[in-house]
């Protein structure tokens, strides 16, 4: 176990002209991360992902809760925790004027790496940055900057890496490229705690994950387990009479959910349920505009646990 955290809480107080406002960013989050696994924190913006990571990275002190990271108590030995961490924030931490090489070299020196020059060259090489190594940070593209950010977090070979929304703002190609590099970390034995609001990212990368909403953990498990818990498949129907359609198919479904003119029908075996379901709807005279059959996604898990889709939750935040 490289991270064991229990009951983490953090409330922020802001004073403005409108008066004192308190925001309960994290309300009792616990997580256990095994050595060598990629553990995801999935949730909409404002769910408390970044606050949780910042607490675990010794940047903010939790109001309550305990955590042991790489064998050291977060509150009693923050310095020891820092020595075992690589931390890549949402902003990335790439400076504007210094070159990637100078920044990575500095990070290696601060961490007391035995041969900073070699460690830097290796980090640059590993992330395909050797060609760009001497360009100032500000001239790098978004994807290049991300790679520098991760190289900065890894140059001292930490057993644990925190990645706070590593692919936000990247184009699909750069995202796929970065996913590959994060997967390679698992092969090298580095444990990763990764936060994201992308479902596909959590699904593709994480060995286990927890879903957070409003500062609480709403679900935890492997992506496959979580999806199985909801149901195997989801049939999405578009119709003028969603209520009536829901009544009709109830007997065939594990669960149904109406959202405007959309009806989501959760079933264990979509392929074999579909013909019967269509027949039943036809008998009842419900006309359909469209129909789709999908494997259930983590969004369906989120919907089942919180009553909202991740997309709605993100738009509201």
């Amino acid at each position: 176990m490289i991270i064991q955290a229990h009951g983490l809480r953090k409330t922020f107080t802001t004073r403005s002209r409108k008066g004192v406002q308190t925001v309960e960013a994290v309300r009792g989050v616990g997580l256990d991360v095994e050595k060598g696994e990629i553990f995801g924190v999935l949730g909409p913006n404002g769910a408390g992902k970044t606050t949780t990571i910042r607490m675990l990275a010794t940047l903010i002190t939790p109001d309550a809760g305990t955590a042991v990271i790489a064998g050291h108590d977060l509150l009693k030995e923050p310095a020891a925790v820092r020595r075992h961490l690589g931390y890549v924030s949402q902003a990335g931490g790439v400076e504007d004027t210094a070159s990637a090489r100078a920044q990575i070299m500095m990070a290696a020196r601060i961490h007391g790496v035995a041969d900073p020059g070699r460690a830097t060259a290796e980090a640059l090489d590993r992330f395909g940055l050797t060609e760009l190594a001497d360009r100032p940070g500000r001239t790098l593209s978004g994807g290049q900057k991300r790679r520098v950010a991760i190289a900065l977090g890894l140059v001292h070979g930490p057993p644990l890496l925190f990645l706070d929304e590593p692919t936000t703002g990247l184009d699909p190609q750069n995202r796929a490229n970065l996913w590959d590099r994060i997967r390679q970390l698992r092969e090298s034995g580095t444990s990763v705690l990764l936060s994201t609001h992308y479902l596909d990212e959590a699904d593709a990368l994480c060995d286990r994950l927890m879903i957070v909403d409003h500062g609480r953990v709403v679900a935890e498990g492997t992506p496959a387990d979580l999806k199985r818990e909801v149901s195997g498949d989801v049939i999405t129907l578009r119709t003028d009479q969603p209520g009536r359609a829901a009544e009709t198919v109830k007997a065939l479904a594990r669960e149904t959910r109406v959202d405007d003119d959309l009806l989501r029908v959760y079933v264990d075996d979509g392929e074999h349920t579909l013909p019967g379901l269509l027949r039943a709807l036809e008998e009842q005279g419900v006309s359909l505009t469209s129909i789709a059959l999908d494997r259930s996604t983590l969004d369906d898990v989120f919907l089942a646990k919180t009553g909202r889709t991740l997309r709605d939750a993100g738009a509201a935040a």
Binding site: A57, T58, L59, I60, T61, P78, A79, R82, R83, L85, Y87, S89, Q90, A91, G92, G93, V94, E95, D96, T97, A98, S99, A102, Q103, M106, A107, R109, I110, H111, G112, P136, G137, L152, G153
Partner: protein, 249 residues
């Protein structure tokens, strides 16, 4: 502790000089003051020669670089706050005060280089100063710059906004400069300004600087200025290190 401070100092200095144009521009400003402002002062100076004017203005120009050059150095921290690199260092095993101290030390090095240049120009233009006086002037200037640099890093970490920061500095700059007798000696000022001047720490620095340039080593202004600025420098540096703690637990 010391190792990390030196590491940050070296890193910041390399960044500063990676594009030598900007430090060069920074050095130009005090030179231009000497070349273009001192002649303006000539008619107001007892004696009325350019050398007399320079003897009065060079110490003021040096304090001006020390304060106003360093006051703007905190801007760099705001950018680093935004791009996350400050946070990155805060999670590293770096001794945290070193993050700020490295920058303050960088400002000191730049300041001494600028001061030497100004002195060389002043000497070429005919000003003479004793070796001990020279060392004391440089030390006083370093203390003044230390105060201003610490203040600037603290302001940057507290205000965290470039616009707010530049407005704040500008607000204080003019009264500090005029009430310190930097441009025009306070002896020319009306009574109320003369009463206010001693409350401006810069006034003491400039008075001491002028005394040193005149070779009046026994002048009480000198120990007063050193005492004032050592205390202020310690306070502002401590404040800036504390402000860093607010950023990261």
């Amino acid at each position: 502790m010391i190792r990390h401070t030196l590491l940050f100092t070296g890193y910041e200095l390399r960044k500063q000089f990676s594009n030598p144009i900007w430090p060069l521009f920074g050095i130009m400003q005090p030179l231009l003051y000497l070349l273009m402002f001192a002649p303006l002062l000539r008619t107001m100076t007892p004696g009325g020669t350019t050398v007399d004017a320079l003897r009065m203005f060079t110490p003021a120009a040096m304090m001006m670089i020390a304060v106003f050059g360093s006051l703007f150095s905190g801007f760099g921290l705001i950018a680093e706050l935004r791009n996350g690199s400050l946070e990155r260092y805060a999670v590293s095993p770096a001794w945290r005060p070193a993050i700020v101290l490295g920058r303050v030390a960088r400002d000191m090095v730049v300041l001494v280089l600028q001061a030497v240049l100004v002195l060389v120009v002043a000497i070429v233009m005919g000003v003479r100063i004793g070796a001990l006086d020279l060392v004391l002037v440089l030390l006083l200037m370093a203390a003044t710059g230390l105060f201003a640099s610490g203040l600037s890093q603290g302001l940057a970490l507290t205000i965290r906004d470039e616009n707010g920061m530049s407005q704040t500095i500008n607000l204080f700059m003019l009264p500090l400069m005029l009430l310190g007798g930097l441009l025009v000696p306070i002896a020319f000022a009306p009574d109320w300004m003369r009463l206010l001047a001693p409350f401006n720490p810069l006034y003491h620095a400039v008075e001491a600087g002028r005394a040193l340039f005149d070779g009046r080593l026994s002048e009480p202004a000198i120990p007063i200025a050193f005492a004032v600025f050592l205390v202020l420098a310690v306070l502002s540096t401590m404040w800036s290190m504390r402000s860093l703690r607010k950023i990261a637990g």
